[in-house]
Amino acid sequence: MNKPSVLVIEDEAAIRKLLEIALQSSGYNCLLAATGRDGKILAAAQQPDLVLLDLGLPDGDGQNLLQELREWYTKPVIIVSARSSEAEIIQALDHGANDYLTKPFRTGELLARIRSAIRQTTNEPADPVKIFGNLTIDLATRTVKKNGETIKVTSTEYALLALFVKNEGRVLTHAFILREVWGPGYVERTEYPRVFVGQLRKKIEDDPNRPKLILTESGVGYRFTEG
C-alpha cells in the first residue's frame, strides 16, 4: 500500500521542518510548500491525500487559496491558525476546511487530526449502519439504538444527528448546522443548535455533561467523534 501523502503549506521554515519530521516519522509522504502559489502547483501535480494550510501566508490570503483549492480539490484540508481568531476559523470552515488547529499546537494532536481526517475519506461510505461505541445509527431505516435499545428522537434531532454522523470528525460551524438542518433562512437562529445539541446529548451520551460523541468547539461549533 502506498504511503498517504500530506501537503504542508506553511511559510515559517522552522514549523515546516518540524512538520516534515513529524509526518515522515509517522509514515506519511510529506510535501512542502512555502508559498500559496507553490502549494497550489504541488496540490495539482501530486494530488495529496490531505492539505495542511497555514492561514497566515505571505503571498495572498490563506482563505482565498482555500477557496481556490476547494474548486477542484475534494480531499481533507486542515487549517492552522493563530489563536484568538475565531472569526477567521469559522470563515475557513465555511469555505470547506475540514478541521482546524490553533498555534501553538501539540504534534500528537495534529497527527491524530490528520489520521482521523484521512480515515473519513477512505471510510466505506456504502454501509448505512454506523456504530459509535454503544450507539448504533441506521441511516437507511432512520433508527437510533443505544445499548441495543431503540431511542426515540424527534425528526429535528434525527436530522441533526445524521448530519453529525455523515461528517464524523469534522468541525461543523453553527451556521453550517443551521443551513443544513433548518434551512438557509435560519442562519441567525443561533439558539437552535445549542438547544437541540443539549437535547440530543441527554439521549445519546452516557454522561450528557461530559460528552464523548458531540464535542463543543468553543465559539465555533461542534465536532462528532467516535467516542
Binding site: 489563536r83 484568538s84 475565531e86 472569526a87 501553538p104 424527534t154 425528526s155 429535528t156 434531532e157 453553527h174 443561533t190 439558539e191 437552535y192 445549542r194 438547544v195 445539541v197 443539549g198 437535547q199 455533561n209 461530559r210 464535542l215 463543543t216 468553543s218 465559539g219
Partner: protein, 378 residues
Amino acid sequence: MKKVHTQRQVFIAGTVVLLIAAAFYPLSDYIGYRSVALILLLTVSILAMRMSLTAVLVAAVLSALVWDFFFIPPHFTLTIGSGEDLLLIVMYFIVAILNGVINYRMRQLEQVQRQKEERDTSLKLYNALFNSLSHELRTPVAAILGAADMLQENDVALSPGQKKALVSEIADGALRLSEQVENLLSMSRLEAGMILPKKEWCDVGDLLYSTLEKLKPESHNHPVEISVPDDLPLVRLDFGLTEQVVRNLLSNAFRHTPAGTQVRITAKIVHDTAGHFETTEQADTPLHLVRDKMMYRLQIEVSDSGSGFPPEEIERVFGKFYRASDTVAGGTGLGLFIVKGFVEAQGGEVSLSNQRQGGAAFMLEFPTQILPQNLHAQ
C-alpha cells in the same frame, strides 16, 4: 481652554476684591481707612494661595485703585491728599504684588516636587513588576535553552533517563512560556480596546463542563464540583471570552491551593423587575407602576476551600501584574486582570470575597437576555 480658565479666575478675583471693599465701605469711618488697606491685603494674599498669577496681579492693582478711590480722602478721586498716604499706597502695591508672586512660585515648586514623588513611586512599582515579569519569562527560556544545549552537545554521555528528563524540561518550559505569551497578548488586546465581544446564545453548563474538561491535565487532583440547574435557560454571552475567564479562575484555584482542595463552580440566573409608570383614572393614585420588564443576570461563582486572600490585598487582586505576596507559584500576575477585563468587556462585573468557612470566592455577574423556553422538541 486655559485662556477661558484664566479669564474666569480674573473675574472671580476681581469680584471678591469688590465685594470685600463694598462690605467694609460702611465701616471705614469706624475702623479707619488704613485698616481697610490691611483687610484688602489679606484678601489678595488669600487669593494668591489658589489663583493664577494673572488673577492675583489683577486683584492687587484693582484693590489698590479701589482703596485709593473709595477710601483715601478725598473720596471718589484718585488724588492722594497726604504724603503719608502716598507712601502707604506705594507700599501697599509692592507688598500685594510680592505676596502674589511669592505665593505663586511656592505653589509651582510644590507641584514640581509632588510630580517628582509620584514619578518615583510609579517607577519603583514598575520596576518591581517588570522584574517579576521578566523573571517569569526568562526562567522558562533559560530552561529550554539549557536543556536543548545539553542534548546537542553531550548526546553520547547522557543516559536515556537523563535525555527524557531534559526533553520534558523543554516541553514544560515551552508550555509555561506559551501561557505567559497568551496572557501578555490578551493584556495588550485589552489595553488597546480590541476586545469586541460577540454575544451568542450559550449553554452555560456546556461552557463550564467543556472548559473543565480542557483543563483536566492542570487540575493536579483538585476535585471540581459543577452545579448548574437542569433548567438553566440559554443566555447571551461571548463563549470564547467567558471560557477564558472561567479557565483563568480555575487555574488560579488549582495553582494557589494545595492538591486535593475542593473547587466549586455554581451558576444561576437571578432577575429584577424594572417597570414604567402609567397614568390612571383614580385621583389619589394618578400614577401606577407597571412592572413589565424582567432584567436577568447570570451569576457564576468559582470558589475553593483553600486559605483565601489576605483581606488587605482583596482590592488589588484584579490589578495588572498583581501577585499574592506570599506566593511561591509562578504566573505573570495577569490572570485576574484579564478576568476583570473580559468580564467588563461584556458589561459584567467580578468581585472577590473570602468565604466564612474559608477559601476564596470569585463572583461573576453578567447582565443577559435569556432564551424563553418555548423551543419544544420538533
